[in-house]
């Protein structure tokens, strides 16, 4: 057998062997120690690279956490939430704080069917671009432009623009990363605690008479919501109510009282109050109920609640001295007091 036949085998084999051995030696000699926790933590993170933590993507955050540069508590990774925070804490051998799950809400409900336009915008479909040309096409200078800058920036596909041209956040998909809050040129998106479900869907600072002319769901600054919230969790600031979620207030009466329907309640059906046989007719519940005519009955007789009219705010629960009132129904029970999470 001519030796030439073996040349290819020998050459390719020896080149391969040379590189194989060379790489094996090099991988040992040139080894760089990489903290194995980085890979572990990275595996836990949502992987959306949303940047809510302030680091360029999840790998940057994982590295910072593993090196102890940032709080490992996980309140930094909003999309991950408490679950991931605890998992990371387990890896690092520390304890994590609980994180309040947040969600983004758009403070505007003025679609093309409700809010009047003064011009037609035909430029680039981008809110920032529209702002530059006469501050948008709506008469309302604080309304949602509906061009979807927030939709494009959302890493979780949780925002869409309705056919009326208003951005709406999907509460189930939203993780509260806050990217849309940053990108919105109108600054009408904010984060609220997920448990609350009620928010003001208007950002207009104009006076009432003016607002009524161009938006049927605009806040007229009537302050009825402020009066319906005795704890002071709503204050009027520059013709617009400001909701203080930290005070853990029940905003259902405020939403009910609003004549312009500016509040959005993400809960479609709330549980209704029901009075049982313990009732002695003290009328304490009638005094606190924000809706007139819901609770009826003679004094010293058992009272009845009209289920169709009850808004499910649950204020009467705490007012009843005999604890005769309970919430019935399919909707989620309302939160009335602080600290119960």
């Amino acid at each position: 057998m001519p030796i030439e036949l073996l040349y290819p085998v020998i050459v390719v084999g020896s080149v391969g062997l040379f590189f194989g051995v060379g790489l094996a030696i090099a991988s040992k000699k040139l080894q760089v120690y990489v903290n194995p926790r980085i890979a572990q933590i990275l595996g836990l993170l949502p992987g959306a690279n949303c940047g809510a933590c302030g680091y360029p993507g999840c790998s940057g955050f994982a590295k910072a956490v593993a090196e102890g540069k940032t709080e490992a508590s996980g309140s930094v990774c909003v999309p991950g939430g408490s679950k991931i925070a605890h998992a990371i804490a387990d890896i690092l051998g520390i304890t994590a704080d609980a994180v309040e799950p947040m969600m983004a809400v758009v403070h505007c409900n003025g679609g093309s069917d409700k809010a009047l336009e003064r011009s037609r915008y035909e430029g680039i479909t981008d809110c920032h671009a529209a702002i530059l040309i006469g501050n948008g096409s709506k008469i309302c200078q604080d309304g949602c432009l509906g061009l979807g800058s927030c939709v494009r920036v959302c890493p979780f596909n949780a925002i869409h623009v309705t056919k009326e041209g208003v951005a709406v956040v999907d509460a189930d998909k939203c993780t509260g990363c806050g990217k849309c809050v940053k990108v919105c040129p109108r600054k009408i998106i904010s984060l609220i605690p997920k448990v609350h479900k009620i928010f003001l869907a208007c950002s207009n600072h104009d006076r009432g008479a003016k607002v009524k002319k161009y938006c049927s769901v605009g806040c007229t600054a009537c302050s009825l919501c402020v009066k319906a919230t005795p704890s002071g969790a709503i204050i009027m600031e520059n013709n617009l109510p400001v909701l203080d979620y930290a005070k853990e207030e029940n905003f259902i009466p405020a939403a009910y009282k609003c004549p312009s329907r500016c509040f959005t309640d993400l809960v479609k059906t709330r549980s209704k109050a029901n009075i049982d046989t313990k009732c002695n007719g003290c009328t304490a519940c009638v005094a606190v109920c924000p809706v007139p005519g819901v609770i009826s009955g003679e004094k010293d007789q058992r009272h009845v609640i009209d289920k169709d009219k009850c808004i499910g705010c649950g204020i009467c629960l705490n007012a009843c001295p005999l604890h005769a009132i309970s919430m019935w129904g399919v909707g989620p029970l309302v939160k009335t007091t602080a600290g119960k999470r």
Partner: protein, 207 residues
Amino acid sequence: MMNPISLIEISIGAIFINNFVLSRFLGLCPFFGVSKKVSSAAGMGMAVIFVMTIASSFSWVIFNYILHPYHIEYLRTIVFILVIAGLVQLVEMALQKYSPTLYESLGIFLPLITTNCAVLGVAIINTDLNQTTGSPYTFIESLLNGIMSGVGFSLALLLMAGIREKTEFSPVPKALEGLPIAFITAGLMALAFLGFSGLNFFPAVGG
């Protein structure tokens, strides 16, 4: 063959006339994959220049001192792939150890292009018989061809990234959004680069 004119000719040829992406249609995968942002396109371009330079020099040595003497030139494809892949791995490790900053900026792109057809292409072309001179490139010419092919690739990539950043904000028809419009753009760019094919700076040298 070491006259400066031939070196300039090789450079112009590699960057414009025989641009890897737009004339030879090699390395189209990174051309579309990494051309969404100018910054990442620049990183990829640098990595390609780097790898092409290394690949063309080493493959030239392997070809001329191992494959050619044993008359097994037909094995060059498989040997080049082996050599380039192994070499890039080695360089990647060395970078990670000795120059973490360079590794951070090139790191993610390096493994992507180890077996890229453009990188293999430059090695093959270097060892092919040159059409203009009738003989294969010398070592210096191979090295220059490698660098300049990388520069040509980076140029095409950067141009493409610049255009794609603009088309992001253009009213592109719905059906053409994303890759389709990029393909059309690439086709038009290739047509434009076709104009360089008549370029002949030094007719006296031939070519």
